[in-house]
Every structure is written in structure tokens, then in C-alpha cells.
Subunit: 332 residues, 2 copies
């Protein structure tokens, strides 16, 4: 048997076989079938969930297994919690190749090791052909606060600055380009999908006064910054010059008619700090392999409350708006 | 707009609108977009996850919203934890009616209230038409242990007995019958989907020596009892006479050629206790509305280690095996 069949999802012998031979050897699952019992914790907890429906399942720089672990790890890390335990739940389409499933599980295992988290519980369902697109994955995660939760958008004041840990838009554009069957549109562009827990740990150790962190995924940097201006009731001025964009990413964005600021990232963090802390925070990010192109990209002002404006390289300025929907679906 | 469109899943304005108008009013979501911060806990935690792909979305006695909350609550409760916080993650198919989505969210909200849990985090993805079947839901849950985790199968000895909280197979057969378009095959049969946290709390208060609990979902009572015999290395003799089956459920099972013991339940708990505790445990279950038909259905023996045998009403006996796959897919 080299493909998923309906009976793999029936909760019977074949489900057991799938779990015993493919899933359990990779993850640290509880012996209990129903729930994992976690070690005692000391402190408040963070809890998050994300479903992943990315198409295709594999793209330059990653796949749905790596994405599902990193995305949930990053959601925990940006609220200031230490990511610790993940669940991993599969909806598999009848006919999915077991070899593909194994590669995705390998990626999830490796990403969990890289992020320092343990996958402790899971679930497997199978739907008939045509009722999913290969596989969908849900990961949920629990993190432990070893410090107070971050102050958040309401603590931001005029003069505070926005830092970004590196190049924008690599994930979304790598996935989009991977869907084309025209070889001339392929490029060297790779998704940035990575667990940010280490980078954020280093950042918070060096600059514990960080006010706000967010990973700019769906909606991109524009989504986060437009929201931030509204939430804190201040103006936010971004500098196009300062925002790191790879040439190949800009090329791909131009080709597809997309603004890199609105495209999803999966390995970047946006931080808001007091200006006095900016150099220290940037230095900490740049010392980490995932942050070596960190830059200060904007500043909050008392003018234009609630608006985010981009100062363009050409010397003009334009509004930065949260995208209405999404230019292309199923990026994550 | 009365249907889900791709842009609802883009992480932009339209996603915000969906969350603001339909999801947030029903659930207690964190103000943080990424993670919920939970209150401090004192004790060990249980963590579980399940994805729900039931077809149809609505069936007699319940729907995917109620099922997704109850199933995860029950997974926490059967390991002896108090269910507390849930996540709720949606994969929606383009074209899904917003009215249907609202009904499912209402059901989830009501089931959470019934179970005494809080839905604190969520996620929404949209896939194009034909790449899901209406909607899939993942719920993950965190519970708190206020007592030691249950001893489990390894603590079971010959002479210990198996209790079941009520009628078997109602969920699976109600869902199966709801798929038929032949009115004469419809019946009064309803799914038993319900949160078991209250019943289990009462049971453990009255009989804290309970060795093992499990909710017999996919694979049914047969799946749990066949596994139990193997895990504890004892024989297990079930009495067909003692197993509560509604006449209409037996009728539906006969019609479809199914053994009720292999059909999924979503509101029943199977308990193993020392014989001396059986009456007290049964009385506690029967005092709860969800357990008023609780019965002792079997006993462990030193004979036939690893085998589960059913003594039939006719006076014969047959092996109880874990189903290989599933007679019909997408029951939960």
C-alpha cells in the first residue's frame, strides 16, 4: 500500500498502523490515545491555533510540514511566550502518496527540533478524493510565559520606531512562483519559513522593553502596520528605502503586479521599540542568523493619527492600507 | 454578501470583518491576534487535538460545531482532566453559505457553554470550491488536572469490570442514516453528541478509584475493548445482553449491515473499575442525565489473555475485533 485510503481514517487497525509506523516514530506522542499529559508548568500560558492549506504542498524553501510547525511557533513567540508543546492534526485526501506524507512528517519533525518544541498529540482524518487538496494540517501550540506578556499596541507613543528582522515577501512570492509551469518564471527565490523563537528570545534578552512583536504573515507588513496605526491612534511613517527587499523578490512582485508589503512572510518579525532601544534591539537581531538584515523601517508620529504612510524612494508618499482580501489564495 | 469568498481567508479587511461580525461575538477571543494568554494554572495540563470532517455538516441531534466542541472536551475529560480552554480553527470552502456558518458557530458556542469551556483562539482559512466539503473544523483543548491522571490500562486486573454510560452507536448510525435520500430509511434516531465533562466529574467524585476511561468514538466500543484486552494482557468478556442498544439503532444497524459495537459514539464513556466500586460508579453515572442508562457490560479474566469475547444473547460467543477501517467515512 503506497497511498492513503479511506480506511486510514476509520480509527481502526489501519489508522493504528499509520500512527505506529509513520507518525509515532517522528513525534513524542503520549501513550494515551486521547490527550497528552504535559509536565507541570510554572507561569501563565499562551495558546494558539492555525490551519494550513498551502498549495502546492512543497515549495522552494519549505513545505506544509515545516510551515505548520513554524507558523504556530511564531504565533506563540511574538506574544512573548516560550513555545513548548504542539499538536499536529491531519486531514488527508484519499489517494495521497504515503511517500509525500512521510516527507511532510519529516519536515515537521525537523522544524520542531529546530524550534525546540515537542509535538505531543495528533489526529488523522481522511476525506474522499476531491474533498481536500492533498492534505491540510492544523497545529495548535502552548507556550509558557517566563516574562510578562508584551505591553502591546496601546503602549506605543509618538517617536517609537518599527524594526523588521529582514527581507520582506519571500514566502508568498516563492509559493506563488512555484505554482507556475513556465520555467522562465521560476527564480532562485525561496520561502523564508523558519521558527523565530530563538531570534525573539535573543531580542527580548537584549531589549526587554520591546513594546510589540508580530510576524507579518497573511496581509504582509502592510497588514500589520496599517492595523498598528489604527490600534494605537498614531500616525506611522514607513521608509521604502529602509525596507529590505531582495532584487529577485521585487522582480517577482513586479511580474505578478503585487506590492511586496502586502505579501506574506513566514520567518520575519516586526518589532516596535522606544527609539533609545532601537540600536540595541537591531544589534541583537543582526547577531542571529535569521535577523542579519534587520532594519529600522518606520517611526510613529503625532500627525495623521490612524494612518500609515510610505515615504517612497522617489521622494513621494502613499498610504499603506491593509489588503482587502488576498491576491492569491492558499499561501499558508 | 451571503457566501464565503476566497478573500475571506486572505488575512485582510474581509477576514477581519468575518472575525469581528461572526466569530468574536460568540467566542471569548483574546485581543491579541496571534495567541490567547491563559490565566495562571496550578497543576499539570492535558493537551489534545481533533479535526472534524463529518458529512453532512448537520445531522439529527447535532452538527459539526457541536461535535467539534464535544469531541475535544471528551478527550480531555476521559484522561481525568478538567476541560478549560479550546481553540477553534476553520477551513471553509468558497461558496459556503454564511447562514450555515453562523448556525455552526452558534452550536459551538452553546456546546462550549454546556461543557463549561472557553473558546479563546481561532483561525480561518478559505479554500477554492471543490477543495473542501463545506467546512472542516479543528478544535484543540487544554485541561487542568485537579487529581492525578488515571492509572490506565496497565493497572487493570482480572475481576475488574467494564461500565458503559448508556446506549451505543447512536451517533454513527444517525449520521449514516442522514445521508440517505430515501425517506423510509429515516428514523427518530439522533446522535448522542454531548460533553461528558459533567458526567465524568460526578463519576470521579463518587468513585475516585476509576482505573480507565475512554469515549468510544471511531471504532466504537469494539475498538476500545479489543485494544484494552491487548494492552492489559487479560481476557475481556462482554455480555451482549447487558449492552444497551436502542431498538431503532439496532434496526438501523441491521439495515446497513453494521455491528453496533463498531459504530462511533460521541456522548458515551466506557469506564473500568474494581468490582467493589462498580455499584457506586454506576449509581453516580445514573444520577446524571447523560448516564441514566449506564450498565456493567463486561469483566476481565485471566483466561484468553489479549482477547475480547462477546457472550451473545443466543448463548454463544464470538470474538470482538477492532474494525480494520471504517464502514463509512466521515462520521466525525
Amino acid at each position: 500500500m503506497d497511498r492513503i485510503v479511506i480506511a486510514h481514517g476509520g480509527g481502526g487497525e489501519l489508522t493504528d498502523l499509520l500512527i505506529r509506523e509513520m507518525i509515532r516514530p517522528r513525534f513524542t506522542l503520549s501513550d494515551l490515545d486521547d490527550s497528552a499529559v504535559l509536565p507541570a508548568v510554572n507561569g501563565r500560558l499562551a495558546l494558539t491555533t492555525d490551519s494550513y492549506v498551502v498549495s502546492p504542498l512543497t515549495f522552494p524553501g519549505g513545505d506544509i510540514g515545516r510551515l505548520a510547525v513554524c507558523g504556530t511557533v511564531n504565533d506563540l513567540a511574538v506574544c512573548g511566550a516560550e513555545p513548548r508543546w504542539l499538536t499536529f492534526s491531519l486531514v488527508l485526501e484519499e489517494g495521497l502518496s504515503l511517500a509525500v506524507l512521510e516527507r511532510m512528517l519529516d519536515s515537521a519533525r525537523d522544524a520542531a527540533a529546530e524550534a525546540g518544541v515537542t509535538i505531543v498529540a495528533g489526529d488523522t482524518k481522511v476525506v474522499p478524493r476531491g474533498q481536500a487538496d492533498g492534505m491540510y494540517v492544523n497545529t495548535s501550540g502552548v507556550g509558557v510565559f517566563r516574562r510578562e506578556p508584551l505591553p502591546g499596541a496601546s503602549a506605543i507613543r509618538a517617536g517609537d520606531v518599527v524594526l523588521l528582522s529582514g527581507f520582506v515577501a519571500d514566502h508568498g512570492l516563492a509559493v506563488m512562483l512555484s505554482r507556475t509551469d513556465q520555467p522562465r518564471l521560476r527564480s532562485e527565490l525561496k520561502s523564508d519559513v523558519a521558527p523565530l523563537s530563538g531570534l525573539i528570545e535573543d531580542l527580548l534578552a537584549a531589549a526587554p522593553e520591546v513594546l510589540f512583536l508580530r510576524d507579518p504573515t497573511r496581509g504582509g507588513v502592510a497588514g500589520v502596520t496599517a492595523d498598528l496605526a489604527v490600534e494605537c491612534g498614531l500616525g506611522l511613517v514607513l521608509s521604502e528605502e529602509a525596507i529590505p527587499v531582495r532584487p529577485e523578490t521585487q522582480w517577482a512582485a513586479d511580474l505578478l503586479g503585487l506590492d511586496p508589503l502586502t505579501v506574506a512572510n513566514e520567518g520575519k518579525v516586526l518589532a516596535v521599540v522606544h527609539e533609545a532601544d532601537a540600536e540595541r534591539a537591531l544589534a541583537a537581531m543582526r547577531d542571529h542568523p535569521l535577523g542579519n538584515r534587520a532594519a529600522q523601517i518606520g517611526r510613529f508620529t503625532d500627525r495623521d493619527p490612524g494612518l500609515c504612510v510610505l515615504k517612497t524612494k522617489a521622494g513621494g508618499s502613499r498610504m499603506v492600507a491593509k489588503p482587502y482580501g488576498e491576491e492569491l489564495p492558499r499561501i499558508c
